[in-house]
Symmetry: C2
Amino acid sequence: MTSPLRLGIAGLGTVGAGVVKIVRQKAELLSARSGRPIAVVAVSARNRDKDRGVSLTSYAWEDDPVTLATRDDVDVFVELMGGADGSAKAATEAALDAGKDVVTANKAMLAHHGQALAERAEANGAILRFEAAVAGGIPVIKALTEALAGNDITRVMGVMNGTCNYILTRMEGAGLSYAEAFEEADALGYLEADPELDVGGIDAAHKLALLSSIAYGTQVAFDAVELEGIGKVSIDDIRQAADMGFKIKLLGVCRMTGRGLEQRMAPCLVPEGSPLGQLDGGTNMVVIEGDQVGQIVMRGAGAGEGPTASAVMGDVMDLARGFRVSTFGQAASSLTPAVPAKTATPASFYLRMALADRPGALAKVATALGESGISIDRMRQYGHQSDAAPVLIVTHKTTRSALDQAIAAMERTGVVQAAPVALRIERV
Amino acid sequence: MTSPLRLGIAGLGTVGAGVVKIVRQKAELLSARSGRPIAVVAVSARNRDKDRGVSLTSYAWEDDPVTLATRDDVDVFVELMGGADGSAKAATEAALDAGKDVVTANKAMLAHHGQALAERAEANGAILRFEAAVAGGIPVIKALTEALAGNDITRVMGVMNGTCNYILTRMEGAGLSYAEAFEEADALGYLEADPELDVGGIDAAHKLALLSSIAYGTQVAFDAVELEGIGKVSIDDIRQAADMGFKIKLLGVCRMTGRGLEQRMAPCLVPEGSPLGQLDGGTNMVVIEGDQVGQIVMRGAGAGEGPTASAVMGDVMDLARGFRVSTFGQAASSLTPAVPAKTATPASFYLRMALADRPGALAKVATALGESGISIDRMRQYGHQSDAAPVLIVTHKTTRSALDQAIAAMERTGVVQAAPVALRIERV
């Protein structure tokens, strides 16, 4: 019998408690699979007395996560407190400095400090793993870092915030307004304390930045993610996109181009028949494209006790089996600074506007598009009672800057009422 | 710079040539990711002179794969010859006996000799990996063995033979008969030299047996897979299943029950709106369900040069990074003999029959079902010109043995013409 792998767990919310339960209830299975016992030796949380549905009496208690992280009897520090800075970061740094491996679910910390933490791990011969930080139970970090390591990654896409997908799905399925669907998600407890983390796309953008780093060997560049939340998506857009055969998703996309790294988290149209288009409710999906493998689609629960604890345990089991892979899949010192692409890859766009009901109005819109070099793929004008006609246009491939130029030109003609809505159509 | 990982590749078909290309063309990327150079040092194939679209002149040539496998300068033997026995097995055994790690895409060899080879690897301190053997580029072995190692696996399902899925999709989409779709697949070169490997479900059953072993810690038990090919699926079944909201897929299912291990590869009905139901053409899909993670769905190319070479390289990169995991995810000596379940988990069934057009006929069918304890979920009788009415029944959950009893009773009454078709409906 080899020596046990000893865990110190900081943060005993649902995920932390879930990890403790797995270690307690599956001791034999874990040991058979990893070849050594897995044991919790110490835990830490803000409130010692809370009932977490699992007995903690056999573990040492530390009030201070930094003390926990550096205990002599801890081999792996499991960081499940959350937060980009503060205790989570301090304890993670302390663990790495003490040469301890770290498993974390903390996307915000890694999105903001990933490069520094990866360097710190490397300097101390420690391993830092974070499968649970991206897309919950879906093993996307492992797939990208390990399974697809023989590929040049051509694109990574993902619906990685279940709350946003729930809201968009409810708007579409039940005809709710954004505000109504938001209220419903809130009542169900789906929203973060700061809802902007969800609906503003920030949480999903954290995850995207981590995937970009692995895919392209670049230093995590969260600030370079082009970010747009779902707050401006209207029920009209959802209905009219559906009428054209599309669904609207908060979609993260990263790709390396000759112009630099593109990272975008924004509402996009995807074909309703595609795997991404068919993804309803709180489920997550990540699509990885490589020059060898083609397209791999992975779908599963993006949050919750079981799925997130499963991902944490996947990392723990790798460490128990002696697997030591660099944080972002290659030496931290070899990661290059990300050069953000100044212009995005051309795409088709969905354009919705309210057009003044007078002769020549449509001609002016068409002229504005034409003069910006944009050709029209499909156009629909809907019947209307008011003095403005709803008009939908799907363009052929163009750049966002050409489109913005065309929209500005339309607005100058005075035939469009209010600002047209433009959403990117992502080819999937 | 650490020492290179030196590959000896036996078998230079599309996959072997694909691996050579990746190693040659991505040297810098592979070395950045794994921390050491990856090099091909020697190759072997039946025909030395064939043009494989890649230069082999810088590699030693061995006519005998066993000699290749045991060369002093080979660290990893990459077996891409195929075949359950013969050279592939001899060379794999020789490599393991020499303490060399082996990466293979050979599902037949592992399905038949997996336990013996795993024991042999273990006895020699060697590693045997086979991501490419199951579902091509989809990293399902890695997901099941590593990422989900903290789960009790509750079920694994998969559409893992692209040729069968192509045939069924063409029957459905183009209204082809089985024979016509088979001819088309043959003309496109999709079929194995022995087509029964594809349409008989054998190839897919090989893969399923490997997944079962990892999922349940059992010794590979290919002979215990309940096997039924797609040859009896008719266009009528495809149309009438569609009318009830289902698609027919050659679906592999394994689950551990109180009665033993269930492994089944057979045509099944799945809801048309489910990910499995929406899987068209030659694509593969594997669904893994765990008690913690819930349901993970993985989709991608199941065959072809790039996807399969990608999977081979994933294993090679793991070895380059020093990852040493047991063949089936735990020590070979700890794998238990599989005890096959004698009876299958109850399910709903689809039952199609031609019913004699005379008074009381349907009553006799209903009575036969009722007397076997089977209740009817949905029933449709279709209009007809002949003297037999097409009747479709979807049952509530029942056992296959109760259903067979009911079918025998129906046949005794003489009201059903020809043998009714019964297909399992897999809840997904």
